[in-house]
């Protein structure tokens, strides 16, 4: 448990450090020092049954109304992250996909093409290793690695802590490469401007309807590894139709990090996003 703010951090490590090591607490956490609870009173009777089964006067049970979303805490951290980014004119993207879709290779190619044109930094998420962060750093861009341990998705709390260790790309783009997983990351807002789902053409046309939550949550689908299309019987029209069934507003760009196909359109999309973030800087 994070000893400063009491939030649960499990086995998460950022650049090898456990979360309770990192605290500087500039961003807002709702927290209070954990109180020493009074030991339970000496009655052996605990109300486990329905409320009407209490003997009146014997137990001090009462009802407390909560009316809060279960993900309220993550949403609060995400809102804090979003504000932190907006104040610095940073366009943040949450890149999601199955493992092996080509996210990191695409990201490396993106950084190489954007270098000198836009400030860019990367937050990498994986269960283990810092291999992805090292690949990004080899391009000259700043990157930080979050290892979730047993966790299968990044959450806003981890990302907020990563901000403390990363030189944030003011007036530029922050790429958050999520853990490879087409299910869990869909529900966790990190404070990003958009989720971008990367689906490679070796994965099958039916993925958007098999994993609809992810495609519904994304603003843009990058259909990656398009250089392999001549060797596959992959129906591009079908995958786009399925994606649009689940999310009528989803945009689609066909890309290939190896051949360069679609990279100009993808970079243009990022550039427009950065310009909007800079213009809206508060």
């Amino acid at each position: 448990m994070c000893t400063t703010c009491g939030c649960s951090s499990g086995e998460t490590r950022i650049e090898g450090d456990a979360l309770d090591y990192v605290h500087t607490h500039e961003h807002s956490h709702a927290h209070a020092a954990a109180p020493a609870y009074a030991p339970a009173h000496s009655h052996t009777h605990y109300a486990r049954g329905p409320a009407h089964a209490h003997a009146p006067g014997l137990s001090r049970s009462r009802m407390v109304s909560i009316e809060q979303d279960i993900l309220a805490k993550n949403d609060a951290y995400a809102a804090s992250n979003r504000k932190h980014l907006a104040e610095r004119g940073i366009f943040a993207l949450n890149l999601v996909s199955s493992p092996g879709s080509g996210k990191t290779t695409l990201l490396v190619k993106t950084i190489e093409m954007l270098k000198g044109r836009l400030p860019i930094a990367v937050i990498e998420g994986d269960q283990q290793t810092s291999q992805d962060a090292e690949r990004i750093r080899a391009t000259g861009a700043a990157a930080i690695q979050i290892n979730t341990g047993k966790g299968c998705h990044l959450d806003a709390h981890m990302v907020g802590h990563a901000f403390e260790k990363l030189p944030l790309p003011e007036g530029g783009a922050l790429m958050i490469e999520n853990v490879g997983n087409l299910v869990c990351p869909a529900a966790f807002d990190l404070g990003e401007a958009h989720k971008v789902v990367i689906l490679s053409v070796t994965e099958g046309e039916d993925k958007p309807i098999k994993y609809p939550d992810m495609f519904a949550a994304a603003s843009l689908m990058l259909l990656n590894k398009c250089d392999l299309l001549p060797y596959l019987s992959f129906d591009v029209d079908q995958v786009i139709a399925y994606a649009r069934r689940v999310n009528p507003d989803i945009q689609v760009i066909r890309t290939s990090a190896s051949s360069g196909e679609g990279m100009d359109d993808w970079l243009a999309w990022i550039t427009v996003g950065v310009a909007d973030a800079v213009a809206a800087r508060c």
Partner: protein, 114 residues
């Protein structure tokens, strides 16, 4: 979806409430889970039991309150019942349905012991 993270989320809400409202134990938690919410109740109950051991909610009972799924069908221009997320309109079969209710995952209320 992600039952362990959700169970941890519920516990955090309970602990925050305990500090705010000054109680030491939770005996019952009412969760409002919509018909279209991406959560498996049995898995959530299992994870909740695991996550609350040694906490103020150890042994607490989970009660689920159902809320129905609803959507606005753009083809029919009316509200329809939805049994599943991303389903077609039950009346006209169109997929152009905007979900209007049933995805909630909320902690409604608690029975606590001071």
């Amino acid at each position: 979806m992600h039952e362990m993270s959700l169970a941890e989320g519920v516990l955090q809400l309970l602990e925050d409430a305990a500090r705010r409202e000054n109680f030491a134990r939770v005996s019952v938690v009412w969760l409002e889970i919509g018909r279209l919410a991406s959560v498996e109740r049995e898995a959530l109950a299992f994870c909740f039991d695991a996550v609350t051991r040694g906490s103020i909610a150890e042994g607490a009972r989970l009660e689920f309150v159902d809320t129905p799924g609803s959507g606005w069908c753009m083809a029919c221009a009316k509200s329809v019942t939805m049994e599943a997320l991303h389903a077609a309109c039950p009346d006209c079969g169109s997929y152009q349905v905007q979900v209007t209710g049933g995805t909630e995952m909320r902690v409604k209320e608690l029975e606590v012991d001071a």
